[in-house]
């Protein structure tokens, strides 16, 4: 690529293995390189980052979101030369070790266009004020660990520094948050549009105090410590809310540890007219609640509900949650993304096939009774692009009957279902424009009878033919009707 496009400016990669050598090539080959975004990537170290820092004179954006970086030393940051001032966005939140803090401060203060700064956990709270003072134009900040010895001077320094950031609209980070330090952000709450508190393990009263000041809030990510009470306050205070994500603080605990139920979500659906995107982890749900939510918010476009215990029924009636989710797809006519959970029969898929005409992505787990369920979805959802299914009794019939549909979709993922190896072979043979990949770590699927189910199946359309770079536990079913193992 370096030879062909020497003027390449932006590279954005997701879920790829990137080596230090690749980073070095990027750093040295593209004179006008501006944007590097590595999302959920891995395979590189801070040495690779050093190469980027040292060579990319025009770099504007370096975003390592969620990547796994071998953090050898924080020294790499010092490799940005003193003459380098074009940084606009830096996201190093995934790094494990401390970066050279002085170098960071100097970098931040000499880049007048720096708008986004996402620090890693290792940046101590008492260094934050200096960083903020160096970049009062900051629009998005991810703090490091939000805890320190409680000292009034540290607190007032921090509060003052926050108050100086008149453009700050997005806040995140807050690892290990100490409640007594939260008020330091109060001065800017009224200007915040996006708040990610999903790593802040503080309790409801402290969350409520903070959130109730954020009248312009559009996006909130928070732990379930907020509880139903907190969500009720949120509904009353944040009328511009568009996206809510509530994550579980104790997902593997046996019993609920917080007073968060379906009621919290119902409150927000009632109070926030612009709410369109929801991700909600909880431990109980009812058809009545889902019905209410659906009717309150026909403008919902993304709805993902995770009831923690698989196959949980409506806790009031002990019935499946088919009708509740049915109401969601029926009333929310622009629904593009849906994730289901709880006790569900084939009927919910009938609703989805009938009403989910705009649905693009569907995630299903521990649901359904038979192939009919899968058939409803594949035959009914005209705009379906991505379908992922785990632990459902869906098998060969629906898959093969709807083989043509798969060519209109981006991908299908099925794991722990009832699709047989034989059916995968047939699908691979019938559909040359699909890559039908079977993943099985217990050995080649042809060492077992054709009728035995495959562990994981991934089907996607391709113009490039089967891959040749797969690891040993992945097999392509292709039209030679012979397994090609790479």
């Amino acid at each position: 690529m370096a030879g062909a496009y020497p003027w390449l400016e932006e590279i954005r990669l997701k879920r790829m293995v990137v080596s230090d050598e690749s980073l070095e090539i990027i750093a040295k080959s593209f004179k006008n390189f501006k944007v590097l975004v590595l999302s959920s990537c891995e395979g590189f170290t801070t040495e690779g980052l050093a190469a980027i820092a040292a060579n990319c004179r025009n770099l504007r954006e370096l975003d390592l979101r969620e990547s796994e970086v071998e953090d050898l030393s924080g020294r790499w940051l010092s490799d940005f030369p003193d003459s380098y001032t074009s940084l606009e966005s830096l996201n190093i939140s995934c790094l494990g070790n401390e970066v050279n803090l002085l170098a960071l401060e100097r970098l931040v203060s000499r880049c007048p266009n720096l708008k986004t700064l996402r620090l890693n956990r290792a940046v101590p709270l008492d260094r934050l004020p200096n960083l903020l003072r160096g970049a009062p134009q900051l629009a998005e900040l991810g703090t490091g660990a939000y805890t320190s010895e409680m000292r009034p001077d540290v607190f007032s320094n921090l509060a003052e520094a926050f108050a100086g950031c008149k453009q700050l609209k997005t806040l995140s980070g807050f690892w290990d948050a100490l409640p007594s330090y939260l008020p330091a952000v109060y001065p800017i709450c009224s200007q915040l549009t996006s708040l990610n508190l999903s790593y802040a393990t503080v309790q409801s009263p402290d969350l409520i105090k903070l959130v109730s000041l954020c009248e312009k809030l559009q996006k909130l990510w928070v732990l379930d410590y907020i509880e139903d009470d907190g969500l009720e306050i949120l509904a009353a205070s944040c009328k511009d809310l568009r996206e809510l994500r509530v994550f579980p603080s104790d997902p593997f605990g046996l019993e609920p540890n917080v007073a968060l139920t379906e009621q919290g979500l119902v409150s927000v659906s009632e109070g926030c007219p612009k709410l369109q995107s929801v991700l909600y982890f909880c431990r109980q749900m009812s058809n009545a609640a889902l019905n209410t939510i659906a009717r309150n918010r026909p403008n919902m476009t993304r709805f993902r509900l995770c009831i923690i215990e698989p196959r949980s029924p409506d806790y009031l009636t002990l019935q499946p949650l088919d009708d509740g989710f049915g109401a969601i797809v029926e009333h929310c006519k622009d629904l593009r993304r849906l994730s289901l959970s709880g006790l569900l029969t084939d009927r919910v898929f009938e609703y989805i096939g009938t009403y989910g005409k705009k649905l693009e992505m569907l995630s299903v787990a521990f649901a359904g009774d038979s192939d009919l369920g899968l058939h409803h979805v594949l035959s009914g959802c005209d705009n379906l692009r991505k379908l992922e299914i785990r632990d459902c009794p869906f098998g060969d019939k629906a898959l093969l009957a709807n083989a043509a549909k798969l060519e209109t979709m981006r991908s299908l993922w099925m794991s722990s279902c009832s699709v047989s190896f034989g059916a995968c072979k047939v699908l691979g043979q019938k559909m040359p424009r699909l890559n039908v990949e079977v993943m099985d770590e217990s050995g080649p699927p042809d060492s077992r009878p054709e009728s035995s189910p495959v562990e994981k199946l991934y089907v996607y359309r391709t113009v490039a033919g089967p891959r040749l770079d797969m690891p040993g536990f992945v097999w392509t079913m292709d039209d030679d009707s012979a397994l090609r193992i790479s």
């Binding site: 579980p248 993902r304 995770c306 698989p310 770079d469």
Partner: protein, 262 residues
């Protein structure tokens, strides 16, 4: 429509009908990425095998700011990568740890769909909290711990500070849970309470039907009675009256110890 009972949660038992339960005896991470990363703006890394697209229930797909798929990049290179050495190590560590009885729900692999980074992040925070909490506990006037009994419909709580010896604790628990053991009699074929002979009741309460265990600070399940009382109250997080049939793994001399406690 069939009514389906809520399936009790078993580790890694999959429910594929008529299929091989390939995962039935494994507790492992599955393919890297099969736990599917959530994507948040800055919730950082350490995502195990975020390189493999898996079950994205709670991660961002289409609605990300930019969508590589449209550009057609990325599909052919490095989409599937072999488990990194760290992932393989993690998987084998979990395999080895399997036989313990955990107070947490038995995990179905990859459910709930929480990203590893988030899990790790919370785990670190929790460790710190536990240290603080236990320090707070020892300086307060009470030490309430939950007590569960296998088969009982609800749990109880006892204040360990109310007792000075194991014997005290044992008697108190017997009183608290007697009502459940009496109803257990019913399931053993005794038709009504009048027919309950005193000896049968004593057998149930004092026999080797149940074993008293506790979860310590490290999350391990221990037999009650091995350590001095003070040490026990300092490290006990919760109690479980376990059916002896479940305690098959305990050494025979441990069973003897139980009997002597009773």
């Amino acid at each position: 429509m069939e009514t389906t009972e809520k399936t009790p949660q078993k580790t890694t038992t999959t429910t594929s009908s008529g299929g091989l339960n390939l995962k039935a005896t494994e507790l492992r991470l599955g393919l890297p990425g099969s736990e599917s990363p959530e994507r948040d703006e800055d919730g950082g890394g350490g995502v195990k095998g975020g390189a493999i697209r898996g079950f994205c229930f709670s991660s961002d797909g289409i609605d990300g700011k930019w969508n590589l798929s449209e550009m057609g990049i990325g599909k052919d290179v490095g989409l599937f990568s072999p488990p990194t050495p760290r992932e393989r190590e993690q998987a084998s560590v979990i395999k080895q740890k399997k036989p313990q009885i955990s107070s947490a729900r038995e995990q179905v692999v990859g459910w709930p769909p929480i990203r590893s980074f988030r899990k790790n992040s919370m785990a670190t925070t929790q460790k710190n909290d536990d240290v603080d909490a236990s320090q707070a506990k020892s300086s307060s006037n009470c030490l309430y711990v939950k007590v569960s009994m296998d088969g009982a419909p609800f749990l109880r709580k006892v204040d360990l500070k109310n007792f000075a010896t194991y014997k005290d604790l044992s008697s108190a628990l017997h009183s608290m849970f007697a009502c459940f053991t009496i109803s257990q009699c019913g399931t053993h074929g005794v038709s009504n309470r009048d027919e309950l002979s005193e000896s049968k009741l004593m057998d149930l309460l004092h026999g080797s039907e149940y074993v008293l265990t506790y979860e310590d600070k490290d999350g391990d399940w221990m037999l009650v009675g091995d350590v001095p009382w003070e040490m026990f109250t300092n490290s006990c997080k919760r109690l479980r009256i376990m059916k002896s049939s479940e305690a098959i793994g305990l050494a025979p001399r441990a069973m003897e110890k139980c009997k002597s406690l009773n």
